[in-house]
Structures are given as C-alpha cells and as structure tokens.
Amino acid sequence: MKKSINGSTLKKFITLALTFAIVQVLVSTNIINDYIFSTLATICINIILATSLNLITGFTGQFSLGHAGFMSIGAYTCAIITLRNPTMLGFVIGALAGAMLAAFIGFFVGLPTLRLKGDYLAIATLGMSEIIRILFINLDSVTNGAAGLSGIPQFINWGWLFVFTAGTIILLNNFIKSSYGRACISLREDEIAAESMGINSTKYKVIAFVTGAFFAGIAGAVYSSYYYFLEPNLFNFQKSIDILVIVVLGGLGSLSGSVIAAILLALISTYLQSFPELRMVIYAILLIVIMLFRPQGIMGSKELSLTVFKKWTRGLRDKKNGGVA
C-alpha cells in the first residue's frame, strides 16, 4: 500500500518536472517567443482563476459572480507593494499579501452572503465585486483611480508561472481529496442531508469561499506582475463571467476540466485574433455548440487521470476489434 502511494507521488513529480523542463527549454531556445509566452501566461492565470472558482461553484455548489473582485484585490495589493519595493522578495510578499487580503475580504463577504442561495448569492457576490471596483476607481491616492497603475515591475517568468499554477492545482486537489473537500461536495449534493450527517454548512461554504478568494488573489498578483499595467475596469463583471465560462465549459466539479478549458479557450481566442471582426462571434458560436453537445462540460465532474485514459484506449481497442470481427 505504502509503496504504491510513493509510486504515484513519484509519477506526479516526474510529470511535473518534465512539464517544467520542456517548457523551460522551449523558452530558453526562443521557440516559445514573447507572443506565445503571453498566451502561456494567460493560460496559467486563467487556470488559477478557473480552478479556484470551480472549488466555490463546481465543488461546493455556491454560484459566485465575484471572482474578478478577489482577483483585483490580489493584483492591486501586489502591484502597490512591488512598486514600493521592486525586488523579487517584494513580489513574493506582494503576491502573498494580495492573496491573504483577498481571502480576508472573502471571509467578511462570505459570512453574511453565503446564507443566500443560488441566484441571490450570485447577485450579492456580483455587487461585492462591483463595490471593490468602484473603490479602486475612487481611491485615487492609492490606486491612481481610473487611470490605473503602470510601470509595475515585471517578475513573472516561466518559473513563477509554473510554481503558482502547479501549486494551485496541487493544493486544491489535495483539499478536495480530504475530509474538508468531501464536506464541501456533500453540500452541493444535498445540504439538508449533509447537515443531518454533522456537516456545518456555513463553515464549509466559508472555507471554500475563502480558499477560492485566496487563489484568485494569487492569480491577480501574477497578472499585475506580468502585464505591468492595471486599471479597475479590467476587473469588471465581464471578467467574472469569462472565468465562469471556463469553469462551466470544463465541467462543474472537475479541476482537470477547468485546466483543459482554460487551455482550449486561450488557444481558440489566440487563433481567432487573425479574424478580429468575427472573433467574438465565432467564439460565442463555439461555446454554444460545445454546450449543446456536452452540457455537463468537457469533463463533467470526472477528473482526467491515467486510469481514465487507460479505460478510454481499451474502449477504443475493443471497438476496433469488435469492428474487425
């Protein structure tokens, strides 16, 4: 038993190390140029945002439209700290401080609003995110208002992107596979039954919400340090919807689904940049088509794993053999 656990940990570690090394080589040899790297950065940021929103909406079943708000808190906090202290340490402190502050705000917003259900919660979180945006517009002295912050020191390279993205996925996956994660999932399935089985619904909703907000803050910090420019309107209602689209498309309750959808959507929208006038039309049509044929999302609530892959290839093989016979 123990050996197999070590074996799977080792496999995971090797996969991670390989992913990092291959991309690192591609970046150093300039096969991944600045243009491709910006897509890569978008993908990583969107993965962090989507997986963390998936924890709130997909796993715990709490419909939140305020993720851009938490992201903006992380982005502004990290930007303000790195502008005053433009060192690597400043960036790390900024990112952590941004995430903590987002989590803190998430706690105070979540405590009263998570009593609401469904649509009402969505409206409350949407309102929260708009309040944060308006605050950033009006806090001229700190955030430079609507003009935004520019010249934020850029510390994001592939190494940091990888650490933050892989770290988020691993930590969220660990959370979901724990007693805490199971409690969150049980709330999505049947809140009354869960409460009757000793699950404190408010506690676990708040934990999921705060955790989601924390990682949204991380995503914001990465964003600010990569794009070195921030303005409050980057984090409007549209941004929250964009993240939600990735989550729904990938599958509510599937981390790997969110990862796949984030990659897929970034690739589609990068490719469509060659057709600027039709870009949003094609993008929207694609979304409609995918949702029509796969309403549960790309992965449903399943996770991509080697066993699934094996089953799938075996299925294909069986089909092939059956066809021959």
């Binding site: 656990i5 930590l171 007693s179 009757s196 699950i199």
Partner: protein, 261 residues
C-alpha cells in the same frame, strides 16, 4: 434510564398544528416505534428532533454522561454531533457520489486533522484517511455493500439505497438512531432481513432506536414500545399487544365506526 425526553413538543405551521404537546421518552437501549396514519406528524417529529425544524414550544432533552442537554433549536449538524443520527423517508443519499464517499462524508465530524494538513496531505492526513477508509469498509460490510463501494449511490437498487442510508447514519457514531420508514418499498423477504439487521446493529452499536414504520408486522414484531400519533397528538402509548387492541388506535386507522374491526 432515559436517554431522550421530549416534553410538550409543539410545532405549528401557520394555523396548522402539525405536532402538539407530544411527550416521548426513550430509555437507553430501547427500540421504540412511532406509528400513525398518513399526515399524523411522524416525520415532523423527526425533523424537530434532528433540528431541521425549530419547535414552536416544548423541550427536547438528551441525557448523556449524567448531564441533561437541551437540544431543541440546535442546528442539525449540532444535533448530529450530540449523537442523534437519522435516515430519511424519501431517500436523501448523495446520489452522484460513490457509496464509499457517502459513508466517508458522514465521518467528517470525527475527523481531527486540520485544514493545513489537508492542503499539504501530511502524515496526519494519510494516517487518518486510511482509518476512515478501513472503518467505512467495516461499516459497509454490515449491510453487505462493501463490494459496491465504488458504485454511484444512484445506481444502487432501491433496497440497497435504504441500507446505505442506515450505514451512513451509523458512520456518524450515534447513540440514538432515528429510522424513517426503513422498510418502505421492500418485499416481505427483504423486510424480514432488515428486521434482523436492525436487531444486530442495535446490539452491536449499543444504540437506542426510534423507528417510523407503516409495515405493521415489522413494527409489532420488533418494537418494545410504541407511540401512536394522530393529528399531531400522541393518542396511545404502550407495548405492541396493548396498541393492537387499543380502541382509539383502531379508530384512527380505520375510521370511527369500528364495530366490525
């Protein structure tokens, strides 16, 4: 020795008295039945006992370790933490989760590792998760569900879903178990089997059981005492043979004119 005392419990929905002035006492290790015609308020009593409804008036007292704990008005998860577990009349499993997860979720309240240990999957996490896994399998074995541990709960046959509800309730380590129509929809053979199981878990888990049931043969056979509810009031209380011949009970079930009953 009483373990649960319900005193003058009343629940009004607007002008409707769903439950009025109900007194129930459970002694340690008893198996008590709660019967009554449809709409008599049996499930409402369960919902009051487990905190899903807040009573309009009355008290529910749990006697544990020589302490009297008032549990009326507590949230369901707190009631569960005090040791009262239940099953549901209309099955409320976590349908899209596996059988194993259904049981493991019910063990949440007895899990000790903290949030950071969960994020980092530390040694405390793996040790305790292994215990949870082993314990779940032991519990599933009682109702012969262990070979179905990886199936989704919704794919189980109806009878096994009822069994899984019982296993899930046991996983919370209760001292009092409330069973809401455990034999509903089962055939006589399955009911007989269930009867054996209920006896077995009562003795092996040192439980006190309160049971709602429509199947009179089951109730009369296994219950030591029976409370009869009608229109939200207790109209009779006693051992099965007394209840069988109680005039008010027969009236409640068959109507007023009972010359031929």
């Amino acid at each position: 020795m009483p373990i649960l005392t319900v005193n003058k419990l009343t629940k009004a929905f607007g002008g409707l008295m769903a439950v009025s002035n109900v007194n129930i006492q459970l002694k340690h290790g008893e198996l008590v039945g709660l019967i009554g015609p449809n709409g008599a308020g049996k499930t409402t009593v369960f919902n009051l006992l487990t905190g899903i409804y807040q009573p309009t008036s009355g008290t529910i007292t749990l006697h544990q370790n020589n302490e009297d704990i008032a549990i009326q008005g507590l949230k369901p998860y707190n009631v569960c933490k005090r040791g009262i577990a239940r099953t549901f009349q209309n099955i409320r499993l976590f349908k899209d989760l596996t059988v194993m997860d259904n049981v493991r979720i019910a063990m949440n309240k007895n899990t000790n590792y903290n949030l950071l240990q969960a994020f980092a999957h530390t040694k405390a996490y793996s040790t305790e998760e292994k215990e949870i896994l082993d314990e779940s399998i032991e519990l599933l074995k009682i109702l012969k569900l262990e070979h179905k541990k990886d199936e989704l709960a919704k794919n189980l046959p109806y009878g096994e879903q009822r069994h899984l509800e019982i296993v899930r309730a046991l996983a919370t380590k209760p001292s009092i178990l409330l069973l809401d129509e455990p034999a509903a929809g089962m055939n006589p053979a399955e009911t007989a089997q269930l009867t054996e199981t209920i006896y077995w878990i009562k003795d092996n888990f040192n439980l006190t059981i309160l049971l709602i049931e429509h199947d009179m043969s089951l109730v009369m056979k296994i219950c030591e005492r029976i409370y009869v509810l009608d229109y939200g009031m207790v109209i009779a209380e006693g051992i099965p043979s007394e209840i069988k011949s109680n005039k008010r009970v027969i009236e409640a079930y068959l109507g007023e004119d009972t010359e031929n009953a």
